[in-house]
């Protein structure tokens, strides 16, 4: 509201006084009807503006605000007008004392702002003049694991960055890490003392103590100052309690006539090729630093291959745990855990008790895949290439046992048919009759066994097959025995089982 004194009013002071009275009462009404929270903020500016308009002097003033957590305090500075009283440090000090602001005060800012406000006659809003101090947690002495990224080419990391000797949070560890003798694998980070904090009102805030992770060095680890190194070449392992190094068999050369078959109870590192006809059996993990030209591989735990797995003829790769590789080609591979591949699976039969996950641009071509917990890949099939079959939600080990029973039963059924044909012409042949009964009993026993394990076959109806790129025609997808055949190119889709309808439904992702 702005009021200009007119010439008539100058000549008639009575009329001016009446107008002034009117304005004063309006100002009073504004102040009274404004909500309390807003009132404090606008009271000064509005009233000062009003009084300035009216040509009345106003004193400099301040308005103090305390944060709800009492960790900061700010002041708005309102300048004097038309010869009003200046803001003084005492005025500020009185307000601070009144609000019990005692700690973290920044008197330089207060003095500078007060001076600027008084001299420049400019308002300064919400100037922070006191800050509390947040407490710093006490961090107990703990081990930091030095991680070498063996998994640099895994499905998750296809950008080619190889972060060697990088300290990482040990909870994000890879399952497999090969270390050389005297490689530093961990360092002891000393305890960091906690520092208590305080509020601007002087209240102390105690620091917290982070729990001790209780990680301890285990076997084949020795201390060098604050660092811990491998005492032998091996595979570094860790769990929530300890880190240690398992001795491993390192095969620097190719596996062939010079080495013979490899059978080792622990982990095996292969740095060369596995020649045709030779097998590798490991009671632990197998780590292959190049391409694994697989003949016969039996790995009880995890298999990590830096490049790819190329199968030879009837090569069978059996893995108890997880598989991590770039590609799998012409291979018959069965894994008890997840399979991560970054590039592709081509002309292979792959079975997993876990989940199969392809990298950013991964493809599956001409392959038969069984993934109990589902599959995620960029592309299945191609415009002109061979088709693929994806089976999800089924335990392949149970499936294989049932199929073995079926094959035995087919053999027996054929024998039974020929014996029954024989008995048609020689009904009194007691030997044939005896054989017939034995075969029937065997078939019955096998069928009983099949029926017993049948309930374990379909594990999870909620699994899905995700194709981030394109699924090409001819791709067959089966979830918990419910089939779907892709008849046109489908992009960015998720295949799921609609249990109620007993059909596969397709969702856009």
């Amino acid at each position: 509201m702005k009021y200009q004194i007119t010439k008539a009013e100058m000549e008639d002071p009575g009329s001016f006084a009446a107008e002034l009275e009117k304005l004063n009462s309006e100002a009073k009404r504004i102040v009274e009807t404004t909500p309390k929270a807003v009132k404090r903020e606008i009271a000064k500016t509005e009233m000062e503006a009003l009084t300035r308009t009216l040509g009345l002097p106003t004193d400099g003033s301040i308005s103090l605000s305390l944060a709800p957590d009492e960790m900061s305090c700010s002041i708005s500075f309102f300048p004097p007008n038309l010869g009003g009283a200046l803001i003084t440090n005492d005025m500020v000090a009185i307000q601070l004392e009144k609000n019990k602001i005692t700690k973290g005060l920044d008197w330089n800012t207060i003095e500078e702002t007060t001076f600027a406000c008084n001299t420049e006659l400019r308002q300064f809003s919400d100037v922070v003049i006191a800050k509390g101090l947040a407490p710093k947690d006490e961090i107990p002495a703990h081990f930091e694991i030095i991680q070498e990224s063996v998994e640099a080419d895994s499905a998750d990391n296809t950008d080619g960055n190889n972060h060697r000797n990088k300290a990482v949070d040990h909870r994000n560890r890879s399952t497999f890490r090969i270390v050389e003798k005297d490689d530093v694998i961990a360092r002891l980070i000393p305890k960091v003392l906690g520092i208590p904090g305080y509020t601007v009102t002087g209240r102390d805030i105690p620091f917290r103590r982070r729990p001790n992770d209780d990680l301890k060095p285990g076997k084949n680890v020795h201390q060098i100052g604050s660092e811990y190194a491998a005492s032998c070449t091996g595979s570094m392992k860790m769990n929530d309690k300890s880190f240690w190094v398992d001795e491993v068999l390192v095969v620097d050369d190719e596996i062939g006539y010079r080495t013979g078959h490899i059978q080792f109870p622990g982990d095996v590192i292969i740095r060369g090729e596995v020649k045709d006809g030779f097998f590798v059996k490991s009671g632990g993990d197998i780590h292959c630093e190049t391409t694994l030209d697989a003949s016969n591989i039996d790995c009880r735990k995890d298999l990590a291959v830096r490049f790819g797995i190329i199968g030879r003829q009837d090569a069978i790769v059996q893995v108890g745990g997880k598989v991590q590789t770039k590609f799998i080609e012409n291979c018959n591979l069965a894994a008890g855990g997840d399979i991560d591949f970054s590039v592709g699976i081509v002309h292979s039969v792959i079975k997993s008790q876990g989940h199969i996950r392809g990298g950013r641009q991964s493809a599956i071509v001409g392959s038969e895949i069984t993934a109990m917990n589902g599959l995620e890949v960029y592309q299945i099939g191609s415009r002109s290439g061979p088709t693929s079959e994806i089976i999800a939600g089924v335990d392949f080990r149970i499936k294989e046992r049932i199929e073995w029973i079926r094959d035995k039963n087919i053999e027996l059924a054929m024998k039974l048919t020929s014996i029954e044909n024989h008995l048609k012409s020689s009904p009194s042949d007691k030997v044939a009759k005896g054989i017939r009964e034995k075969i029937k009993t065997s078939i019955h026993e096998l069928n009983k066994a099949a029926l017993q394990i049948l309930p374990q076959l379909t594990k999870d109806d909620d699994v899905s097959v995700v194709v981030r790129g394109t699924a090409y025609p001819g791709t067959s997808i089966e979830i918990s025995h419910v089939p779907y055949v892709v008849t046109r190119e489908m992009s960015g889709v998720r295949f799921l089982l609609d249990k109620k309808a007993g059909r596969i439904k397709v969702e856009k992702i």
């Binding site: 088709t387 693929s388 079959e389 499936k399 049932i402 199929e403 029973i405 079926r406 039963n409 087919i410 027996l412 059924a413 054929m414 039974l416 048919t417 029937k440 078939i443 019955h444 069928n447 099949a450 029926l451 049948l454 076959l457 379909t458 025609p473 001819g474 791709t475 067959s476 089966e478 025995h481 419910v482 089939p483 779907y484 055949v485 892709v486 008849t487 007993g502």
Partner: protein, 119 residues
């Protein structure tokens, strides 16, 4: 009454073995290599499950499925195929087949249908 199974396939080995195995489990099996007879049986007989080959010389399994499903929409048909990605398999599923069996046959899928509670 025991659930009956009908098998339509031009391969005698499959018909013989399916019959031996399922009858041992207590499921009477009728077999035929003639699709005309198979369709007639499927429509007129009281079969809990029909197994039908996808690639037969005179009429394919998708067409047989369509014929049966038109006359008996409640029929449960499993298609037997060597190639699950076969476009005819997709046709059979669209026509109402409830699943596919890889050749020679997958006993687990047959038993799942026969032992399912909603039959």
């Amino acid at each position: 009454m025991a659930q009956k199974v009908l098998a339509i396939d031009d391969e005698p080995m499959i018909l013989t073995t399916v019959k031996v195995i399922l009858e041992d489990m207590g499921y009477p099996v009728t077999t035929t290599s003639d699709f005309v007879e198979g369709e007639r049986e499927a429509i007129n007989g009281d079969y809990s499950l029909i197994l039908c080959d996808l690639r037969m010389p005179e009429k394919n399994g998708a067409e047989v499925t369509k014929t049966i499903m038109t006359a008996r929409p409640d029929a449960r048909i499993l298609i037997i195929t060597a190639f699950p990605g076969d476009p005819l398999a997709a046709e059979a599923i669209d026509a109402g087949a409830i699943g596919m069996l890889r050749k020679p046959f997958e006993i687990s899928k047959i038993l799942e249908v026969l032992t399912s509670e909603d039959l």
